[in-house]
Symmetry: C2
Subunit: 321 residues, 2 copies
């Protein structure tokens, strides 16, 4: 991983445009902000531009208010270098990718599927997060950290490692976290802001839905069907799909979790979301129904009623068990 | 914290009886087993004796099968020293405390409410876990770790720090975790064994109970009352209390979570469990009702009906808000 090459690029250039992927989460924003602060510490000029807004739960991140959304007037901004963080390919930046045209591109990422699309590709699939790589850049360039920088890096690592329990968590991940906590971060408060901020009305909705969880095929598949009517007139500020799926992942012996959700806008159409504990490739199953994703997380939109689609999809999953 | 004094005790004595608290969880068992292995490495004779069995989800811990339950025939076992781990007072060991009579007692713990009941009290309320203190004992005595020891210590730290997100998680906690992961632990697999192994019938019970969650006092207190009848004839293999409390902690703006549970064996008695997000000292509140624990996690047993006790306790909490 050419940390040195990135360092040279930073030293040599003066003006940077920094972006991350659409629907940004903790690591996208944490690594983007920490990289921005690195440049500022080195006296560079930098602009952060994303297609999407910063979600509410990440608004507390230092510098989050400096992230701009893609707009035409930004075209007049002169810069030498286009930098992506946490993006496996250029498409992932959405509309922000237009700024990459005719510019040297630096790609800082940790996805195994990274397409090495840039002039300098700084990719380490063994890193827990893009933030972990930015941390190493600080070390390489000997730029001292402060509390704000440490907060951004910590949030990137925390969220992409699932609070230090996903398999991407290494001895080094903890070593870095140990260093970051020395800057006086309130890690419990950070966790609360990101994860423990579900409005009570959403918790109530969730507890009304969860009793409908079912298991099938010797307990290897857990699934839930969600009717449109149960969500009508409900303002939901959480990722309900993610909440249901992650609750169901706590069930013993379950290999695959599936959520069937009636499409709110289109009739006779079901959104199907899959999660696998690792053994079953749900990317293949989603692919069969015209969808896709990763081996352990995928989705598809299937025509039919809730009953028809769930029957069809569960039968397909059965073949893979 | 007299680590040195404990080390001297260990060196001077030869035969140990080691116990932990009733209803043992990750830190109780992890610290007990790691301490047992420390003694074995030093050529000592040691016996682990608990009142309760090792819960299913911790059976994978190396040495778990060597933990014995209290029984009369153990009286013939000669030992020089009685050691408790993760116990704030002698009562917490349940029936195992009978072995402490007329013996020197060593108390290794991290509860702020620790009663300093022993001849040597090795208590650090700033430690994330009892396992963290046992780790320091290994360092102090210069006994090298191995994968089994690292697994036990890691499980103690993981479970008592809520996977590194409770406020007791410090820079040192991560530094120790970084060291432990060097012994080749599969931390994702460990997490799955402990947390993602809830039998479906227990998930069903949980989803029946959770809709009863309530919030009060401007959403600052979340609470749930659990009647004996809803648990009757139900074999539960999870820590239902912990599951309910940790689910409720996800609610936005909640400062304190309380579970009121009718005692299954005793009439007119309610077990009250408290969790605080940090601001409110629930050790004090539990203390008011004759209980105790930590500032952020405590419990008490209160005489009265579910209605009476919840009213009384909620009123007391209100005073602290």
């Amino acid at each position: 991983m050419p940390l040195k090459k990135v360092s040279e690029y930073i030293r040599r250039n003066k003006r940077f445009l920094i972006t991350t992927h659409t629907s940004p989460e903790g690591d996208a924003l944490g690594s983007q902000l920490a990289f921005y602060m690195l440049l500022k510490k080195m006296g560079k000029f930098a602009l952060m531009v994303n297609e999407d807004i910063v979600p509410d739960e990440y608004n507390f991140l230092p510098g989050a208010n400096k992230i701009q959304r893609v707009r035409k007037s930004l075209a007049k901004f002169k810069f030498d270098c286009f930098v992506t963080l946490d993006c496996s390919d250029l498409k992932r930046c959405g509309k922000a990718s237009i700024f990459s045209i005719n510019k040297p591109v630096v790609n800082i990422d940790h996805h195994i599927s990274n397409a090495r699309f840039a002039d300098v590709n700084c990719v380490d699939a063994k890193a827990s997060s893009a933030a972990e790589i930015v941390y190493r850049l600080y070390k390489q360039l000997r730029i001292p950290l402060n509390k704000d920088i440490a907060t951004c890096l910590y949030v990137g690592i925390l969220t992409d490692s699932g609070s230090f329990h996903y398999s991407n968590t290494t001895s080094l991940t903890h070593k870095i976290a140990s260093h970051l906590l020395k800057f006086g971060l309130d890690s419990a408060k950070i966790y609360k802001k990101i994860y423990q901020s579900i409005p009570f009305r959403d918790i109530q909705l969730l507890t009304r839905i969860l009793p409908n969880l079912k298991v099938q095929f010797d307990g290897k598949v857990a699934w839930l069907g969600l009717e449109k009517s149960s969500l009508k007139n409900t303002k939901i500020s959480i990722d309900l799909t993610e909440q249901i799926l992650s609750f169901a992942r706590n069930i013993k012996d379950v290999e695959v979790v599936v959520l069937f959700k009636e499409n709110l806008k289109t009739k006779n159409e079901i959104r199907v979301n899959f999660r696998s504990q690792g053994k079953i490739d749900v990317n293949k199953i989603a692919g069969f129904f015209g969808g896709g994703g990763h081996k352990t997380a995928s989705g598809a939109t299937v025509k039919g009623s809730l009953g028809q689609v769930s029957k069809k999809v569960l039968a397909k999953i059965k073949e893979s068990l």
